[in-house]
Amino acid sequence: MRGLLARRMKFHLLGAFLVSMGSAALYKIGVAEPRKRAYEDFYRNYDPMKDFEAMKAAGVLESAPPK
């Protein structure tokens, strides 16, 4: 019957710490890092002019028609 609050508090403090740190870590390795890598990979060999020509040829640019 003793230390009821202390025991509960210890359990919940530890749990809260683990859950919050764990979810932050999981987000970092699951979401943030892959996204950074995706952007790196995309822009490593990106040629904007080539992209522009492709979009122009497809006809989606109103001020830059295909012909």
């Binding site: 019957m1 995706a38 952007y39 995309f42 492709a54 979009m55 497809a58 989606v60």
Partner: protein
């Protein structure tokens, strides 16, 4: 006293305040149950304000007398009886779970299913046709336009399309 005499002229029972009651020898109004300290089974209240059993039988009163002597003279059953006089449930009984969650889960799922039926009926009998922009031709033309515009080329739809081979990436 003068007031109660005046009242007795009008009619003894017609108007009577508590002052009048006291004058006639009644005393204080009986306290209602809900105003008195009550017993409660709660995990955070280990010693409730009153004992559980309020009116003891003759047997229980005898036991209470015996409790005033040495406790080692009490048998185990008597100790349990004394406990049950003072408390309703043990901590173990208090903390025991119920099967209520099954009822709740069943009710929730039932109503979800019922809602599903209602939605199916609505789609079938109530709603009109969906817009023409949801047809296969429109959607494929729409997707082609999105790819031509290079929508979301890093992580989104244009990243899933292979522009060299003109097909979806594996």
């Amino acid at each position: 006293m003068l007031a109660s005499r005046a009242f007795s002229l009008v009619g003894r029972r017609s108007i009577c305040t508590s002052l009048c009651l006291r004058a006639h020898g009644h005393g204080v109004v009986k306290a209602e149950d809900y105003t008195l300290p009550s017993y409660v089974d709660r995990r955070d209240v280990p010693l409730p304000e009153v004992a559980f059993v309020r009116d003891l039988s003759a047997q229980q009163r005898a036991l209470k007398e015996k409790e005033k002597a040495s406790w080692s003279a009490l048998s185990v059953d008597e100790k349990v009886e004394l406990y049950r006089i003072k408390f309703n449930e043990t901590y173990a009984e208090m903390k025991k779970g119920t099967n209520e969650w099954k009822t709740i889960l069943g009710g929730v799922l039932f109503f979800l299913g019922l809602t599903g039926f209602i939605l199916i009926w609505q789609k079938n009998f109530m709603y009109g046709p969906i817009p023409h922009t949801f047809s296969e031709e429109w959607l494929s033309a729409q997707t082609k336009r999105m790819l031509d515009m290079r929508v979301n080329p890093v992580e989104g739809i244009s990243a899933q399309w292979d522009f060299e081979k003109n097909e979806w990436k594996k």
